[in-house]
């Protein structure tokens, strides 16, 4: 009986869980391509500075999220690990990647008048951000989608990609450079509050559902016998709501205090 199988990207195998390290070349190639792309972009567009810290943070968290062991656990064993991946990609990697491109970089990437500029400008609207982000959240948490996608490497990679895109869409109205029009302070606060509402539905379904929501995780080989499929799904719902909301509330507080301070300075000056 095989204990592991070669995969390019983490996907469910149905094999018993073990703590043996496994190499997923597709993930490492994608991460190298991301680093190469970022380096090339900075060189080609002659950025005056490279936000190394943001890129390194995004890259390392991305590696930890997609690679063994979290990637393997989330792909085929634990709904709670899958949810943790979702939060890391949308709440940490997404905004860090946006910040990894300086304002001048965005201006050169999407010059005024270009289609991309119009699209990015449109996406700074709160409603556009809410619609796209929530659409991704709902679609990628439907049982039929999760059960179907996570058993294939392509499907699993697409879910990861959708979450990464979702994270960037989510934070764009907050972090977009001024050239793309930004929300007012109260607009941002209202937007972040709005973001917390819809994911409550899948989170509550996980916590209060009579039976495990996902076939994949209900029938997956157990990682620990003490953690039942029901407890795992409930834990996933709690992680999604409790831990998931935390960065948004922190961001709300940061926005409120920094922008009111700036306003006071402007009024005083």
């Amino acid at each position: 009986m095989a204990t592991s199988t070669f995969q390019w990207w983490c996907a469910a195998t149905g094999l018993p869980w073990n703590w043996q390290w496994q190499w997923y070349p597709g993930i490492h190639i994608a991460l190298l391509a991301l680093a190469g792309g970022w380096w090339w972009l900075g060189t080609a567009h002659r950025w005056s500075h490279r936000p190394w810290g943001w890129f390194a943070a995004a890259w390392l968290i991305l590696l930890a999220t997609l690679d063994w062991p979290l990637g393997k656990l989330g792909a085929g064993y634990l709904a709670s690990a899958h949810t943790l991946q979702f939060l890391l990609l949308t709440l940490l990697v997404g905004p860090a990647l946006l910040k990894a491109i300086p304002a001048e970089g965005w201006a050169r990437l999407a010059p005024e008048g270009s289609r991309l500029h119009r699209l990015l400008r449109f996406q700074t609207r709160a409603l556009a951000g809410l619609l796209v982000y929530n659409g991704i959240v709902i679609a990628t948490h439907l049982p039929a989608v999760v059960d179907g996608a996570m058993t294939s490497q392509l499907g699993s990679a697409l879910i990861d990609g959708a979450w990464l895109l979702g994270g960037m869409v989510l934070w764009w109205p907050i972090l977009a450079p001024p050239a793309f029009r930004r929300l007012t302070m109260f607009g941002k606060i209202g937007y972040l509050f709005g973001v917390t509402i819809l994911p409550t539905i899948p989170a509550m379904m996980m916590v209060f559902s009579d039976w495990p929501l996902y076939r994949l995780y209900e029938l997956a080989p157990r990682v620990w016998i003490g953690l039942s499929a029901n407890a795992d799904v409930q834990l996933a719902g709690l992680i999604m709501k409790v831990i998931g909301d935390l960065p948004l509330w922190i961001a709300t507080a940061v926005i409120f205090f920094t922008e009111s301070k700036q306003e006071q300075h402007r009024d005083g000056g």
Partner: protein
Amino acid sequence: MIDAPGRVRQAWRCGGLLVLLAACGADATPLSPAGFRGVDLAPPLPVPELLFTDTDGEPWSLATETADRVALFFFGYTNCPDICPVHLANLAAVLDRMPDDLRRQVMVVFITTDPARDSVPRLRAWVKQFDRQFVGLTASDSVIFAAELAMGIPRAFRDSSTAGSEYLVQHAGQVVAATRDGMIRVAYPFGTRQRDWAHDLPLLVAHGD
């Protein structure tokens, strides 16, 4: 020719329809002719009168001890890395949510297919971690084989590709359910979900009333 806003509207409609279909079609488990989500066994088989040893080391007769109760028989082993713990954990979770009077009428009987390693204390510790009411049974290879044969279950065997004391045992993945009349009527292959058990257990208990 559809204009750009029209295309966007069409895409939203298609997307919405797909989401709706995905949400609605996720759990449409077909019912057997008798109305179960498991697979009807035709013809039903009687629970064999075979003597096992339970986790207290006491003799335990399959047919006598399960008389007038719904019995869910599963053949597996405590070193099983995948389906055995999943089946037992799911059954425990479902029974935990069932009303007491229904729960009292259902027995989960785990029969080891690896008596050499599954000693009585090991079997007790393993089975009882899922539910204190679950029954763990062991016997000689010949009695276990006779039980498998009588219940229409393929014989378990030691996986020759695994060596030493860490060997695996290839065994059937289905749970078979006997109704209160002592007849094994329904099989539940691996993949049966908790919601399927929740649907079928009351029907199994009510069968023949």
